[in-house]
Symmetry: C2
Subunit: 301 residues, 2 copies
């Protein structure tokens, strides 16, 4: 469902071209509806998708995400189980618990809410998760397979960017895409997915010297930096696709990395913040839980 | 050891700047000498580095590489064992053999010479290799860890490009690097390594529409396409670093993707073909065999 004609905040350009607002709530709703139906089918076959979320210590931002995850899991019908540990848990205790969940036939998917306390090696904890139960797609095996073409289990934010491209039928083949940010959660994995779709991909970051030259050269900009006002209108080529993963709060107002109001009239398409990629991430996490559940039970994906 | 003053084919430019010829034979010799000494030390501790190379069927190009590998392993003192299978071996037989080698405490490193016959799934065969014995760095685990910062086991060609950058003290931080080609053997993994060194990285490929625009924008060009005359002098920015992984034969002459004679006077540094990256790959494969051996025996790396 293309929103070119239905978007209230669209702009008329010189050539009567409308800017596409890449709303994430509508495709998120579609995913949630599909998953709800799928879970019904699974339950009819006596399969109860079970998702274990491990929480270590008390991180205020994590609390908000965890509440969102729990609420959505419940709505879809997923059996979500939060396993809470105190912030001073030993690394080996945490890893032992993960191994126990790996071995538990009732558990379909596992995730560890990040960040975890600094005395624990995050890498070793994530590596302990069985790749066939890895809801977040952060295990080295799944990350390696992702670069080799695997698309089932990829970080939820990256799946959400791909969902937006699909939902709004934005073809990236042969286009130049600039990714700003090189985390293993967004920047690097989204590069793998855009390459798989035949985009020419540039990855920029804090050491990049000619960011404006790059933004003006590229047809697609994906920003995951977390700095308000990073991308201004003089940095954007007319007709660009702008996808904003940044989340910044300024004077109480939530905003992305891209100056939305200024860039909107220039762009072909742009994600709002909030309401763009954000609403999709939790829905896509649940989608991966269902994919893992179906794979484990040899139920056609 | 910088060769700026010692290179016979160097050119004087208007500003008396010399082009650096990135010869691979000299750093390869250095690696081989170091490994020979390391193997002596290992043997003194009763550790015999053992490297199993699996050959399936009869591929003429593979024969040449395998001979080179065997010869160099012998020179260094590595116990290289070639395991030959007929081209019609079943996939499960091949995977069973790999599992046997994984379990064999005398085996330190394993590689499967590619390509293997088409009735066998290359991915599943490579995945069967224990990542702690993965000499080529093609297992998903090692590829995933590579994107997360692991540098011990990476594809040998990629290690060779890094060797050249190190040996000739070419700092890539903050520079723009263009990689042409997106294989999991060269293009993608070299992107991971250049990002780790804080270069801004672009990956181009057969669907890239503005190759010349990109080559002219970038400070470093790494080409792994396999097409002679792909990069001509009008595509190269003065002062570029040109690394050519291409191997093409034209009228009996071996050449890379970059027009060497034409581009040499413009570049800051350039790899010859042959004699650039090529001589390093077998040496670096052996280096990874020794790294794996030392890790397995808890012998300090």
């Amino acid at each position: 469902m293309i929103m070119r004609s239905a978007v209230p905040t669209s702009f008329f350009k010189g050539d009567l071209y409308l800017t596409l607002i890449l709303d994430g709530k509508e495709p998120a709703k579609k995913i949630i509806d599909e998953l709800t139906l799928e879970v019904e089918h699974l339950k009819a076959k006596n399969i109860l998708p079970t998702f274990c979320v491990i929480e270590v210590g008390e991180d205020p931002a994590s609390k908000i995400y965890l509440r969102l995850k729990r609420k959505l899991a419940k709505k879809i019908g997923i059996n979500e189980q939060t396993i809470k540990f105190p912030g001073d848990i030993r690394q080996d205790e945490l890893i032992d618990k993960i191994k126990e969940l790996n071995a538990d036939p009732h558990v379909d998917a596992i995730m560890v809410q990040l960040p975890i306390p600094e005395h624990i090696n995050t890498r070793l904890v994530l590596e302990a998760i069985d790749p066939t139960k890895d809801a977040d797609g952060f295990t080295p095996y799944n990350q390696g397979r992702m670069w080799q073409g695997q698309v089932n289990i990829i970080p939820a934010t990256v799946r959400s960017i791909m969902t937006i491209l699909d939902y709004y039928q934005l073809n990236v083949e042969g286009k130049n895409a600039l990714i700003i940010g090189r985390s293993i959660i967004v920047g690097k994995p989204v590069a793998s997915q855009l390459l798989a779709r035949n985009a020419t991909v540039t990855i920029a970051h804090s050491h990049t010297r000619n960011l404006q030259e790059l933004t003006l050269l590229n047809d697609i900009i994906i920003s995951d930096v977390g700095r308000a006002h990073l991308i201004t209108k003089n940095m954007v080529k007319p007709g660009s696709i702008l996808i904003d993963v940044g989340m910044n709060r300024e004077n109480g107002k939530l905003m992305g990395d891209i100056e939305y109001d200024d860039c909107l009239p220039i762009a072909e398409a742009i994600t709002p913040v909030p309401g763009g990629v954000g609403p999709l991430t939790v829905a896509n996490l649940m989608k991966q839980v269902i994919i893992l559940t179906k794979l484990r039970h040899n139920y056609g994906n």
